[in-house]
């Protein structure tokens, strides 16, 4: 208990449920909607992407989340990054959440790399001034050189990913969310990415990592959570959870 006193909780999820309600047949138009209502045939299918999930993550922890496809891993990340407001339960967060869900989602092909840095930086919630001061650092890390003033449509997919990663990780986040992004770019750049994430961890960034690669989880995480059909099946030390998980698989 004394141990708990010292730790500072950064993410607290209390009894989180995320419930999707979808009509069994997709209703796309007013006409169909009106017909369905009149016939009273709107059969609504409910399914819980997450049910009664309780998680507390303390400062500086790196938590790995394992589970099959559709187990609710991405939904959990969305709840933490405030994209999804849970249907039930309470979310409490401390600090700035950096979502690395998909690199370069907000890029515009006609804008130059430099212009896209401003767009992407402000999408992450930074001020233009803050982007301005980090501009050189971002360009340098992305290794784009003279390409930075060329339109993004001329970039290779590797260059786009490098730029996306560079922008998203220039500011040290309090909470870092990683959804299978470590497979980006070439070997050299991947090492740079891992070094940066490791640096954040040492500086006290709390990390949630979803990965299908058990090796990644084992190498990076201190604790693991096993999700199965929206329910926490087990949570504990990485070795323990991975052993159980692999046993079932």
């Amino acid at each position: 208990m004394g141990y708990l006193c010292v730790m500072k909780p950064v993410i607290i999820l209390d009894n989180i449920s995320v419930r999707y309600r979808a009509p069994e047949v997709r209703v796309g138009t007013f006409k169909e909607y009106a017909i369905q209502i009149l016939k009273r045939q709107m059969r609504i299918k409910e399914f819980n992407a997450l049910s009664n999930v309780n998680i507390q993550v303390n400062e500086g922890e790196v938590i790995g989340i394992v589970g099959r496809n559709g187990a609710g891993k991405s939904t959990l990340l969305k709840v933490v990054s405030r994209v999804l407001i849970p249907t039930e339960g309470r979310v409490r967060l401390r600090g700035w959440v950096s979502p690395l869900l998909e690199l370069g989602a907000g890029f515009h092909p006609e804008l130059t790399g430099r212009e896209n840095i401003f767009l992407n930086g402000t999408l992450l919630g930074h001020k233009r001034r803050e982007v301005e001061t980090r501009l050189d650092e971002i360009i340098e890390f992305a290794e784009l050189g003279a390409f930075i003033d060329a339109p993004l449509r001329t970039y290779s997919s590797g260059m786009t990913a490098r730029l996306g990663f560079s922008i998203a990780t220039t500011w040290k986040p309090d909470i870092l969310i990683l959804d299978e992004i470590l497979a980006v770019g070439d070997e050299n750049f991947r090492n740079k990415c891992n070094a940066r994430i490791e640096h954040f961890r040492k500086e006290g960034t709390t990390t949630l990592l979803v990965s299908h690669s058990i090796d990644n989880i084992e190498a990076l995480c201190s604790r693991a959570i096993w999700l199965d059909r929206g329910v926490i099946k087990a949570s504990g030390s990485v070795q323990e959870i991975i052993a159980q998980y692999q046993h079932i698989q």
Binding site: L84, I85, E110, T122
Partner: protein, 304 residues
């Protein structure tokens, strides 16, 4: 465990383990309760939260407007001059086509253009806002952004276009010999009221688009019909007198258009029976649209 023993020794009153655990839990609770930057159960009312976040993300809105303008003209030689030339060209086509029909109006070109400038802003911005929410859906599923940013940035882009096309319009007004008066100073108010109305309606339409994607296509037809129901290319006098009053006064865009036409074409302030209902319609639409959007916004990520 060291801390545990020290704790027991330090506090003589607290002997039993339960009491200590109880105390520690309270202490832990105290740490947990303070300085959370986000608590899903302690959010301000949705409309207010959306408003505060839109202000916080103002740099994003600026950047989105910039993106629209840069992306649109990047590959053209005349660049941003098209912002002036394009609406002007379109207006001139309209004016030439219809001027043979309505040659009884003095300075017909200026009459059409003063109405069309407001209409173009309205129709382009509402359509852009609907498009933006669909585009933005990709982002909304990945990162948190105040969702009104998309509608507000559409307004910003439209406003830049509107103000730039005022320049050639005023030149045309001079050429056709309509009076230029102090009433032009009323234009900022006209622009603000039109903007409020357009933003309110954009938010309502965006929300509907998320639930029914067909709204996007349907709106294109509605806006076309709406334009011909609004006296833009024709004078109000061609509407039969028996139902002219209701025909005009039930159409919110009639007031908006007239608030532009009065200062630009007539060189006079808009009449009070246009200004007062016009202002009320604008502000009510904005408030209703904003609240409706903000209340529904939590559900968007489930739908997109």
């Amino acid at each position: 465990m060291q801390a545990w023993r020290e704790f027991r020794r330090g506090d003589g009153k607290c002997q039993s383990n339960e009491a200590i655990i109880c105390l520690l839990m309270k202490k832990l609770q105290a740490i947990q309760d303070v300085e959370f930057t986000y608590d899903s159960q302690q959010r301000p009312p949705p409309a207010l939260e959306e408003f505060l976040d839109a202000i916080k993300y103002r740099d994003l809105i600026y950047q989105l407007v910039l993106r629209d303008i840069i992306a649109r003209y990047k590959r053209s030689v005349l660049g941003v001059f098209w912002t002036m030339l394009q609406p002007l060209g379109m207006m001139l086509v309209m004016a030439v086509v219809f001027s043979t029909l309505f040659h009884q109006i003095h300075g017909y070109v200026a009459y059409v253009l003063s109405g069309l400038i407001a209409w173009t802003f309205f129709s382009q911005t509402t359509s852009a806002a609907i498009f933006q929410i669909v585009w933005g859906g990709v982002l909304i599923r990945r990162i948190y952004i105040p969702m009104t940013s998309f509608s507000i940035s559409s307004i910003g882009t439209g406003m830049v276009n509107l103000i730039l096309s005022l320049v050639p319009l005023l030149i045309i007004v001079l050429i056709v010999g309509r009076p230029i008066t102090w009433a032009l100073l009323f234009l900022p108010i006209s622009i603000l009221l039109l903007t409020a109305f357009t933003l309110g309606l954009s938010l309502i339409l965006s929300t509907m688009t998320i639930y029914f994607p067909d709204v996007r296509e349907m709106y294109q037809i509605i806006i076309q019909a709406w334009m011909y129901l609004t006296p833009i290319v024709y004078p109000t006098t061609i509407i039969p007198e028996t139902y002219r009053f209701w025909f005009l006064h039930l159409n919110p865009m009639y007031y908006m258009i007239d608030m532009f036409r009065a200062p630009i074409y007539d060189g006079a302030l808009p009449a009070l029976d246009v200004f007062i209902p016009g202002a009320l319609i604008s502000l009510i639409t904005l408030v209703v649209g904003w609240i409706y959007f903000a209340v529904k916004a939590d559900e968007f990520a489930y739908r997109l």
